[in-house]
């Protein structure tokens, strides 16, 4: 079954997330760490996700990688990626593009761990999570980054 082919550990998710943030956002400095405290409720959440359609020896399946955070944190990510000044405006297009790209790079690296040939979708970004109906939760990792909280989760669509 699909779970057999799509086994990614929390440590692997942490390693990927740290690598993405360190290289893309923090100029080589590691500022992302696993969060052990409870994740606070997000008042104004933003979700970015990609899906990977795979053909494995156990059958075809679709995996999904989701990054969730406060919209304000997604703004901060966008500012960092574009090297914007603190008072420069973050447009909606840049926010969607930048936060989607984080999910894209995290998802692309997760896909490389799958024991199957897979095809990655383009990233999607929204204020509500992707449909969770028929989605089986696999893995979740809470991250602290510069005093902010993000959650990376992996799913298999049934």
């Amino acid at each position: 079954m699909s779970q057999v082919a799509f086994q990614v550990s929390k440590e692997q998710v942490l390693e990927i997330t740290q690598e993405v943030f360190t290289a893309m956002l923090d100029q080589g400095e590691t500022l992302t760490f696993e969060r052990f405290e409870p994740v606070p409720d997000f008042a104004d959440p933003l979700f970015a996700w990609v899906e990977m359609h795979a053909d494995s020896e156990f059958g075809a399946f679709t995996g999904r990688a989701v990054v969730k955070t406060e919209t304000e944190t997604a703004h901060e990510i966008t500012r960092s990626l574009l090297m914007l000044a603190p008072d420069e405006e973050v447009t909606e297009a840049d926010l969607t593009d930048a936060f989607g790209e984080i999910a894209n790079v995290v998802g692309g690296n997760v896909k490389a761990l799958i024991d199957a040939v897979a095809r990655l979708t383009l990233p999607q970004v929204g204020a509500t999570p992707p449909v969770e109906e028929n989605a089986m939760f696999l893995q979740e990792l809470a991250i602290d980054w510069r005093g902010r909280v993000l959650v990376v989760s992996l799913w298999v669509l049934l």
């Binding site: 090297m83 998802g107 896909k111 490389a112 979708t121 383009l122």
Partner: protein, 120 residues
């Protein structure tokens, strides 16, 4: 050097261009394409010295753009900059004629390691 950077993400194109500057290629002239179809058309129209392309893009993927260029008899050096760096993707890229594949997330060092041998 005259280089075409193709990525459907404007943010990522900006990061690629910034990283090229950081890697020391700061005198390169760069043009940008939004997707694989545009990369194909701009490559034929502008004849850049090098194409750096994302893989997963709307309208046409990077690999489709590369295959179409080769079919059109265009042999401009082509490298991928993509979040998908699995061995299968690298094999597929190489088989289609790509010179290298830089996996995202990348650093200025990753660019130098991939580009210096091509430029030598």
């Amino acid at each position: 050097m005259f280089v075409l950077v193709a990525d459907d993400s404007r943010v990522m194109r900006q990061i690629v261009i910034r990283t090229l500057r950081q890697a020391g290629y700061d005198d390169w002239e760069i043009i940008e394409a939004n997707d694989g179809q545009e990369a194909y058309e701009m490559a034929l129209d502008h004849q850049p010295d090098l194409i750096l392309s994302d893989w997963n893009m709307p309208r046409a993927t990077g690999i489709e753009a590369l295959q179409a260029l080769r079919q059109a008899g265009c042999d401009i050096p082509f490298g991928f900059v993509t979040s998908e760096g699995s061995p299968e993707m690298r094999e597929q890229a190489e088989a289609a004629g790509a010179l290298f594949l830089i996996a995202k997330p990348f650093t200025a060092d990753s660019f130098r390691e991939a580009l210096d041998p091509v430029l030598a």
